[in-house]
């Protein structure tokens, strides 16, 4: 027989009516952040992306060479102390150009994604929330937009606006938001049946308030994950367009343009191709890792 006295002792005076709460109060986002930080791969992705973004922003400013400063006397140099990544066939500093290109590529990725998220959330949210015929019509319009290949939109817009950053961005956005709208719509359709949405209605909340303050905030998880994975998609699309020669034109440079420039002399100076492509890879890797990490952090199994 065990003697309970050996194992237990009376508790001291407890404060009256005090319910001890053992766990520190955590908001949903704090919880997600903690879980995200527990994921090494995701955290590495975030650090890597942070470094690339930081260098892309300040690099071209502190670099001694302008991105478009040509000097034929030093064209096609290899890596050295003066030019870390060497120079291209026009004698421009490759390091500065890669950083500058990364800056443009990242900007296109983030801005296009932001636009896609805003349009997608509003469009999908309204379609899902109102439902019925409105939903049907909105979804069919979206199907029509989506049925035309993105490349056709982009090329058409380029013809009108010329080859510049804005044209690429608009081109990517024309049907990039469709996926986001679909995801938001399906989330909203399940969320609007939840009782808290009826509770908000009874409390007198307007449709707009219910949709954007109650429902969209609960759909933030999938929205963020989708958005994170949209950024590398946009960067990749831009790089592809520039590589086939219909993207951003000289002297501006994106990572895709740099790869395209290096194409002609690939056999002789392969390093000019390696640097921009490596940066594209790193950015896309980092963003995909972050996206995956966020997905795990936002939807841990068995949590309500």
């Amino acid at each position: 027989m065990l003697n309970p006295d050996e194992y237990f002792e009376p508790l001291g005076e407890l404060e009256k009516g005090e319910e001890a709460v053992a766990v520190e109060s955590k908001s949903f986002w704090k919880d997600v952040w903690d879980r995200f930080c527990g994921n090494k791969k995701a955290l590495a992705g975030l650090v890597l992306l942070g470094i690339i973004v930081l260098i892309a922003i300040i690099g071209p400013i502190i670099s001694p060479y302008p991105y478009d400063g040509m000097d034929p006397s030093i064209s096609n140099q290899g890596s050295g102390l003066a030019h870390w990544f060497g120079t291209d066939q026009m004698g421009r500093d490759e390091f500065t150009r890669v950083l500058y290109g990364a800056r443009i590529s990242l900007m296109i990725g983030f801005v296009a994604t932001a636009v896609n998220v805003i349009i997608g959330v509003i469009y999908g949210g309204i379609a899902g929330y109102i439902g019925g015929k409105t939903d049907m019509v909105m979804m069919r319009i979206m199907d029509v937009i989506y049925s035309v290949p993105a490349m056709i939109y982009i090329i058409l817009i380029m013809l009108i606006l010329g080859s510049n950053v804005y044209a690429v961005m608009i081109g990517i956005c024309v049907n990039g938001w469709v996926n986001m709208a679909r995801i938001v719509r399906s989330e909203i359709i399940t969320l609007k049946e939840r009782e808290f949405s009826m509770a908000a209605f009874v409390l007198g909340a307007s449709k707009r308030r219910i949709l954007f303050r109650h429902l969209v905030i609960n759909a933030m998880g999938p929205i963020i994950v989708t958005a994170t994975l949209m950024v590398p998609q946009a960067i990749f699309n831009e790089a592809f367009l520039s590589f086939i020669g219909i993207g951003i034109s000289a002297p501006q440079a994106s990572l895709g343009t740099l790869a395209q420039d290096a194409k002609m002399l690939l056999a002789k100076y392969p390093m000019q191709m390696v640097y921009p492509v490596a940066v594209i890879c790193l950015v896309i890797f980092a963003l995909n890792f972050i996206g995956e990490g966020l997905e795990d952090a936002l939807n841990p199994k068995g949590r309500d």
Binding site: S25, S27, F28, F196, G204
Partner: protein, 323 residues
């Protein structure tokens, strides 16, 4: 006595059942020709088995569902055909407490945000006074004001129900529909919530409709009881009368099903066991809906639904008590 807080007349609500498109459209009559009224500071308990339309009735009164026929009056104003915009000022006075405290609180809102929200919607008080009032309300419902920054998942079921009640009270409503407020809680917590609701009623003269299938809890809190069967109100009257001597055969069966604390007590009624199943609400039998299971059923019952008629201090819808 003045105008009752809520008066409902011949309310009807049905839902379409999804069938394939060649089939005839079918409807579930969830609420069928229900009339009653509630005075200020009174509680009407609605009882009946699952699927009899109790919850639908509560939601239709609040115009969460648009009624098909009949009228809803709030202090004499007909709400039936008001648009959502015209309803806005009345929503403030007519509130609801939900069945499932886990589902009816937005998981991304802190308690403070949740209780402050209705006041924000109705632009009551300034920002600072609002927070003050949130703390006050938390105290009223027995929550610690220090927990204002916490999220719903950090609370127990009973505490969440208290959050729901505090949020409802923020608007100073005059009428609250409590949709099975106890069924998600365990017995000791049920008692606490019942006492809280009664305390609030005493202090603020709020009228309630309490929808529930826990007959004992409803008896405790209600002044009047309405018994529903298949969308119809079959008996309505003072709680004491209905519980001590139910008249309608269905009410008898329902009341006799309450387990007694002391099975040998003299007041113990004979068990009335019902034969058969509840008919499908899609094909409600003609005449009295209870006729298929009623042992007193006569030809007359199958022909026509009897009206609610005065009998022994309450109203009963049964041919046995028609004068």
């Amino acid at each position: 006595m003045g105008e009752p807080v809520i008066r409902v007349e011949h309310l009807k609500k049905s839902f379409r059942v999804k069938g394939s498109f060649l089939e005839k459209k079918q409807y579930v009559r969830a609420v069928n020709d229900v009339s009653f009224s509630i005075e200020k500071g009174e509680t009407l308990g609605i009882v009946g088995e699952s699927g009899c339309g109790k919850s639908t009735l509560g939601r239709t009164i609040l115009k969460i569902y648009q009624p098909e026929e009949g009228h809803i009056y709030f202090e004499g104003t007909d709400l039936t055909d008001l648009s959502e915009k015209q309803m806005h000022p009345y929503r403030k006075k007519m509130q609801m407490i939900f069945q499932d405290p886990y589902a009816s609180l937005n998981p991304r809102f802190t308690v403070g945000e949740m209780i402050a929200e209705p006041m924000e919607i109705y632009r009551m008080y300034g920002r600072k006074e609002r927070m003050e009032r949130v703390r006050e309300l938390m105290e009223v419902v027995g929550l610690k004001p220090d927990h204002i920054q916490r999220y719903p998942h950090e609370f127990s079921g009973g505490q969440r129900q208290r959050i729901g009640i505090a949020r409802t009270l923020a608007l100073n409503p005059e009428f609250i529909v409590c949709d099975e407020p106890f069924s998600a809680l365990d017995v000791s917590i049920q008692a606490q919530i019942i006492n809280l609701l009664e305390k609030i009623q005493d202090e603020q003269k709020i009228s309630y409709i309490v929808v529930a299938h826990n007959l004992n809890a409803v008896r405790h809190i209600s002044h009047n009881i309405g018994v529903m069967y298949l969308g119809r109100l079959v008996e309505i009257g003072p709680a004491a009368k209905i519980y001590s001597e139910p008249l309608h055969p269905y009410t008898k069966a329902l009341i006799s099903s309450i387990p007694a604390a002391d099975p040998n007590s003299a007041g113990m009624m004979d068990r009335v066991l019902l034969e058969g199943e509840v008919p499908s609400p899609i094909n409600v039998p003609a005449g009295c809906p209870f006729s298929t299971r009623c042992k007193y059923c006569t030809e007359k019952c199958r022909e026509r639904m009897p009206e609610l008629a005065e009998a022994d201090g309450r109203k009963v819808a049964c041919v046995l008590f028609q004068s």
